[in-house]
Subunit: 272 residues, 3 copies
């Protein structure tokens, strides 16, 4: 049977409505042999940050050539480009609002196009549901072998949102919250390589400012290395710094939300 074409979906549509299944119907109508995998449909309305994080976390685990379809789009129906970007591993389809940026950066940008060609869209375009009318068909036609160049003109760069950049200053790390997961783990935009430049050591205790609250927190390899109920920083499974509580829920301790500021201070400098 040759190659199976995997198409992932990441949206904010939820699963109580028929939005997601309409997209799947469209995809299978165009490319019946596609295999569709849900990344998540519970991204909060308009929240590009969560989309950036979830796509970055999931995409690298998929087969080379997987087509990732992202519909997280505060600007639906307004002027912003709809793009397809080929990375070194996957292909990314979505609005050019930054939501694809971190996942593409991670594997490297190969080429990109703007989706313009009407013949690869549904014939009766609605103005409210580009996920079904533009992005789902684009992904399905890609899975069927249509080349990027046929969808529209080349683009040389994509929108990159500012919140993807955490900074490492002399004695502190500054970032922000990308996502709070089901277990109450607070996931920041501080990546593993930034921790290396900051010369973080396992077992070291830091002072953290999380939104408006301050706390001491241990950096550890795993949750279980601190007492039950204690705060701990780990590098999570997506290579981002996470603030957690061993067997507890960090997001219950702080008034913290997606977008909140996070500062990590080296304790020695505070004391001295």
């Amino acid at each position: 049977m040759g190659h199976r074409h995997i198409i992932t979906l990441l949206t904010g549509f939820g699963v109580q409505d028929a939005y997601v299944s309409s997209m799947k119907g469209v995809i299978l109508d165009i490319c019946p042999e596609a295999v569709i995998i849900d990344i998540s449909h519970n991204v909060r309305k308009f929240d590009v940050r969560q989309g950036v994080f979830l796509l970055h976390q999931a995409a690298s685990y998929f087969l080379e050539g997987t087509i990732h379809t992202v519909v997280i789009d505060p600007g639906v129906g307004t002027e912003r480009r709809r793009i397809i970007v080929k990375g070194k591993r996957g292909v990314f389809v979505g609005p050019d609002n930054g939501v694809l940026s971190l996942a593409v950066q991670k594997e490297g940008f190969v080429k990109g196009v703007e989706i313009r060609e009407k013949k690869f869209m549904l014939p009766n375009l609605s103005t409210t549901f580009e996920g079904r009318d533009v992005f789902a068909p684009a992904s399905a036609y890609l899975a069927c072998g249509v080349e990027l160049e046929e969808f529209g003109p080349r683009i040389s760069r994509m929108v990159t949102p500012s919140f993807t950049r955490a900074t490492c200053k002399k004695d502190k790390l500054v970032g922000e919250v990308l996502h709070v997961d089901r277990f109450g783990n607070v996931i920041t935009n501080i990546q593993r390589r930034l921790l290396s430049s900051f010369k973080v050591v396992k077992g070291e205790v830091f002072q953290a400012k999380i939104a408006k609250d301050c706390a001491r927190i241990t950096f550890s390899r795993t949750y279980g290395n601190v007492p039950v109920g204690a705060l701990v920083m780990v590098v999570g499974s997506g290579n981002f710094l996470e603030i957690s509580v061993n067997r507890g829920c960090a997001s219950d301790l702080f008034k913290v939300d997606v977008g909140s500021r996070i500062e990590i201070f080296r304790l020695s400098n505070i004391i001295s």
Copy 2:
């Protein structure tokens, strides 16, 4: 590999229990090559209205021959027929309580049968879970090529619920709410063709009575054509009139629920 058989599922079982996966197990046990797609499993208990809307919205996007399995069934275990209906595009399997009606009407009724033949049901029939014991096997046997006629006697008509009919009077449209979606859009049973008979013009302002509340509301092509926070009526992606708020949540403004009455008055007549 020839043709892949797509089976969709629309239920009120939720996804925290094993109900849906048991149905999928049964389907794949009978027809291992079936491709199963979820429409939704979050239809509120006993709510045939939502089922009618979601099936109508999703079904037309699927490949011809797709088998839609619907288990929204306040009367499980009591006397009501279990049916299979072949439409011009899809095949519909479910209880004969009206839930299939609008989707079948949309594409046209070709033929229907009652499910009676025990050999196409699970051997140990439970009385509480026909989704798994009757409807899932029926869909799987259909996907395997069993003909409609083998399941039981022909039926010539199906139950059609009264709530699918909105009316257009001289100066007002009267309908009701079918569904409130994740974004708080209030979806009515007023279809696009009824709006045409009512001679609605883009940009026209109407008086609406939504459950017990009244409001002025603009008819527009897209949410974004009215100011942020303003009420707007659009023809949604399913061809039904929706009441929405640009970047807001219409269902927060009114005491509105599935089944609430909706009246749309032509403003000129109220003024004159």
Copy 3:
């Protein structure tokens, strides 16, 4: 195309994060022809009881040879075995904390191994996400035809949690709550065969103690045989005794939760 390999997933990861989709990416990367079916991802954190129940309920409906992957694991990152068990029907992959026990007992234990071989794990093992790094790859390699023996040393027994054993005394049944489903049905660990030893008759009325509350309750074949709003005990679709309310919600009537004690007394003995 020969045989399609079905892999089911049962976890507590929820669907708002990228945990589940990362596991699916890993599986399809190793075994692109796998068919992945979700049992549930909404098991409450650390709740082995719910996992036991859901796996037991769903597994027997799947095709022989189906690989069931269970990641319900309060002890992730600590010392407990990670196992693969072949039953008479399915293959079970998960932590050795009892979560696989009832499903394996139901169909009969054939053989089991501990997962030790590093070449069947992801190269960069995280300490927090064995679902993705150990269990997903194990299931995918099994689907690709790797033999049990290649994963590690044989095991002769598995952990069996005490809560899977309900007891039948002279005049009472004693069990506990395994799961409360979406409809508020309270599902106990009392199985059909225990009811047979207790010589329960349809229509018989019992005295029940549910957590701290007492109530009279009828044993019936189906919900609909008692008046709307009345309490009823039925043998549910998974062969466990369920406490329900006809068209109502039993879990709203009692302070009951997973793990609550359930006692069923023969009424004649109370009166005499």
